[in-house]
């Protein structure tokens, strides 16, 4: 036993041993039982677990140390196998801290060493107490069945660079199939990804379709608020959040009610015309009246339509976020927006066109009226 500083070293070594073998608990437990038996014979009745653990650990280290020193002395004498004198020498080394009979004599013979005498005395005195349990031999070493080599099987190695003493390859079908299976696996994975993509595409197209329907219908564009496009800026300017809240009635202006009014107006106008002039002209006016009305309506509507666009954007903001995300991810979703923007601009164009048409119609009307006046004058 080394003196003093062996404590930390011992713990370190023990922990290392545990890490290495891992199955040393069995030996430790046996050592504990043996040490407990020895302690019991000495006269102890009980013990603390920690004390027993420490003592058994030290006993194990004692054995280990004897083995090490004996091995060392055997090697020093040029032998590989240990004999009794190596052990005695090791015991003397270990007992040097305690001291033993005849330790001062350097040249003493090992057979007459105090250590040996004490040991003999101990064996003679102490009653023999065998270990409490029968122990199987340990550590159990599994018989490893090595795979037979090419030579043992009697096969020739498949290639020249493989020596015959190496273990033989397994059956070809066990490993030849492997790469293909791997490919299949990867294929299936890619297929899965493909399927997923296709599904997503399907969903996207469905979504687009939905959006197209909703965009073409009375429902406004689904997601205008995201200004990715310069064209969207128009819509962004008319941000429904920034715009003033519209009154219910403002929004509700019905295109159906207006023509009725106008038709009444026209109807009220027409008698004047009738009063003014000839039946022909009245018929002309009457024939043009619905067109004019329609144009007027369109004019009114064109202003209202803008508001409507605004109005229609409101429900679009409340659109489901999941759908919005999906539509964001793909440029395809711009389709309905573009369409809406384009839809808006043709409306304006149409309005202008209709303005011109109206002017022309009015010109014609005026001309006809003048003509009627001229006719009347004539």
């Amino acid at each position: 036993m080394s003196n003093g500083g062996g404590e930390s070293g011992s713990k370190h070594e023990q922990s290392q041993g545990k890490r290495k073998s891992g199955g040393d608990d069995f030996a430790q437990a046996i050592a504990k039982i043996a040490v407990a038996q020895v302690c019991e014979r000495v006269g102890f009745q009980t013990f603390q677990q920690s004390a027993l653990g420490t003592l058994s650990e030290i006993a194990v280290r004692y054995i280990h140390h004897i083995g090490k020193t004996a091995h060392f002395y055997a090697n020093l004498a040029g032998r590989t196998e240990v004999n009794a004198f190596d052990i005695f020498q090791g015991l003397e080394d270990l007992g040097s801290t305690q001291g033993f009979l005849g330790a001062s004599d350097i040249d003493h013979c090992l057979t007459s060493s105090g250590v040996v005498r004490e040991l003999i005395q101990y064996v003679n005195e102490v009653q023999e107490i065998p270990f409490a349990y029968s122990i199987p031999r340990f550590p159990v070493v599994k018989d490893r069945k090595l795979s037979s080599s090419f030579l043992q099987i009697g096969e020739e190695p498949p290639d020249e660079h493989i020596p015959a003493w190496l273990p033989a390859f397994p059956d070809p079908q066990t490993y030849l199939q492997l790469p293909t299976r791997n490919e299949r696996e990867t294929d299936s994975e890619t297929e899965k990804i493909e399927l997923g993509r296709q599904q997503r595409k399907m969903e996207m197209s469905m979504l687009n379709l939905q959006q197209q329907f909703s965009g073409s219908g009375p429902q406004g564009p689904s997601s205008v608020a995201h200004g990715d496009n310069p064209k969207d800026k128009q819509a962004a300017e008319s941000n429904p959040f920034l715009s003033e809240p519209l009154h219910f009635e403002e929004k509700e202006v019905s295109s159906v009610a207006v023509p009725a009014k106008l038709s009444k107006e026209v109807a009220s106008k027409t008698p004047v015309a009738e009063n003014c002039g000839v039946v022909n002209h009245v018929s002309v006016l009457q024939t043009f009246a619905p067109a004019i009305e329609a144009m007027k309506n369109k004019l009114c509507d064109s202003e209202e339509e803008q508001e409507k666009v605004l109005m229609n954007q409101r429900p679009a903001v409340q659109f489901k976020i999941g759908l919005g995300k999906k539509s964001l991810s793909k440029p395809l979703k711009l389709g309905p927006q573009h369409r809406d923007v384009e839809m808006i601009s043709p409306w304006f164009c149409k309005d202008f066109e209709k303005d011109e048409k109206k002017r022309r119609a009015e010109k014609i009307l005026k001309d006809s009226m003048e003509n009627t006046q001229e006719l009347a004058q004539l």
Partner: protein, 137 residues
């Protein structure tokens, strides 16, 4: 076995005879520390010997060492108990049991050159092993 040294005198011859007798007697002697355990740890240390006597020799030596340490601890324990009994008579009955404690063990091991310093926070007060019901082996 005897070729290592010269047998010049009768005394030495007696020693030789005693040693051979001792080694022979180990064949019949079963130490408390089992052979398998000793063999296992000797094999770990690089010790190679097919001779059962040598393994038993190591076992006996270890057993002797352990019993010496235990004896010293017992002496320590008895001395401490005597001191305690002097101080507190009422605890006399409780302290009758002989308990191997870390306190005594570390003192005994120090004499054998092993420096054991167990942590202070261990619940290793002398009263730990006092409860006979729970501490009975």
């Amino acid at each position: 076995m005897n070729h290592n040294h010269q047998q010049s005198s009768d005394g030495r011859h007696d020693d030789d005879a005693a040693l051979t007798d001792f080694l022979a007697s180990l064949m019949d002697y079963t130490p408390t520390i089992p052979d398998e355990l000793v063999e296992h740890y000797l094999a770990k240390s690089g010790f190679q010997c097919p001779d059962v006597r040598l393994i038993r020799l190591v076992a006996v030596a270890t057993q002797k060492f352990v019993s010496e340490v235990a004896n010293d601890a017992l002496v320590q324990c008895k001395a401490r108990q005597a001191a305690v009994v002097k101080d507190k008579r009422e605890k006399q009955q409780k302290d009758k049991r002989l308990i191997l404690t870390m306190e005594d063990l570390s003192k005994a091991l120090r004499e054998h050159g092993v420096n054991v310093k167990h942590q202070e926070y261990f619940a290793d007060s002398p009263s730990t092993g006092m409860d006979p019901a729970s501490r009975d082996e």
